[in-house]
Subunit: 133 residues, 2 copies
DNA sequence: CTTGACCTTCCCATGTTAGTAAGGTCTACA
DNA sequence: TGTAGACCTTACTAACATGGGAAGGTCAAG
C-alpha cells in the first residue's frame, strides 16, 4: 500500500490526474487510510500504467474506459479491441492529413516570402485574399 | 453596414466567435446601432475572413493577433511574418511526428491482432506491459 | 399588432492538465 | 514533546476554441 505520490511516481501519472480519473469514474474510488489518504496497491499502479500508455498512444479517456473494461473482461473478443484501435488510427490519420495540409500550404507560402525588411509577403497576401484555396 | 449574422455568413466566422474575438480584444469593439446591435462594414468582414483563413491554417488566436498587427502595419518586415509562419510550421511538424508515431505503433499492434472472437490481443498486451517501447 | 427572425448578455459544457489556496497528517529529528 | 517540512485533502481557477441555451429586447413583413 502506498500514498498517491508514490503511486504517481511509480506509474507516471500525476497525483492530480489520478484524482481526476477517479472523479470521472475512469478509476474506482481508492481505498482510504483512517486519515483519509488514498491508498494504492501494486495492482492499482498496474492499471495506472495501462492508462498512461494508452494516453501516450493518443487514446481519449473515453476510449481508455472501454479498453480498461475489455482488459478486465476475460471473455472479450479481440475484434472489439482492434476496432477501437483502428478507429483511433483512422482519427489520427485524418488529423495528420489536416495538419500536413496546413504545413504544406504554409511552407509553400513561406518559401516565396523574402523574409527581409521589406513589407510585401505572400503569406499575408494569401490570408488577405484567400489565395484561391 | 450589416448585422452580425450577415457578417458571420459573409466571413465564415460564426456570430458566436465574432463576439468572442471582440471580447478577447482580437477585434476592436464593433460600432453599435441605436438599439445596441453590432454593425459591420465590408472592411470588417475582410478582417474576419483573414482570421478565418489563419484559423484554417492552424494558427492560434494569439498568433493571429500578431499577424493582424503586421497586416495593418505598412512598415512591417516580411521577416516577421515569415518567422511566425515558420515557427508554426515547426510546431505542426512536431505534432505530425508525434501523431505519426502513435499511428505507426497502433497499426503494427493491430496488424498482429486476430480481430476475432478470441480474447488474446497484442494491443492489450502492449498496454499492459509496455511492449518495450 | 402580431409573428418570427434576428439581436443582446450571461452562464454552462467540452477535454485534459496544471496551478494555487487553505487546511489536515505524518515523519524525522532535536 | 515539539516542531519543521514533506506529504495529503478538497475546492476553485485557468488554459484553448467552440457550441449550446436561456431570458429578454428589436425589427420587418404581413
Amino acid at each position: 500500500m502506498m500514498n498517491i505520490g508514490k503511486a504517481a511516481a511509480a506509474s507516471g501519472v500525476s497525483a492530480k490526474m489520478i484524482r481526476y480519473y477517479e472523479s470521472i469514474n475512469l478509476l474506482a474510488a481508492a481505498r482510504r487510510t483512517d486519515a483519509g489518504y488514498r491508498a494504492y496497491t501494486d495492482e492499482d499502479v498496474h492499471v495506472l500504467r495501462f492508462i498512461r500508455r494508452a494516453r501516450d498512444l493518443g487514446f481519449a479517456l473515453a476510449d481508455i474506459g472501454e479498453l480498461l473494461a475489455l482488459w478486465h473482461d476475460q471473455g472479450r473478443a479481440s475484434a472489439d479491441v482492434k476496432g477501437i484501435a483502428l478507429a483511433h488510427v483512422a482519427a489520427l490519420e485524418r488529423k495528420i492529413a489536416q495538419l500536413q495540409g496546413m504545413a504544406d500550404t504554409l511552407r509553400t507560402l513561406a518559401a516565396h516570402c523574402h523574409g527581409d525588411a521589406r513589407p510585401d509577403c505572400p503569406i499575408l497576401t494569401d490570408l488577405d485574399a484567400g489565395g484561391g484555396r
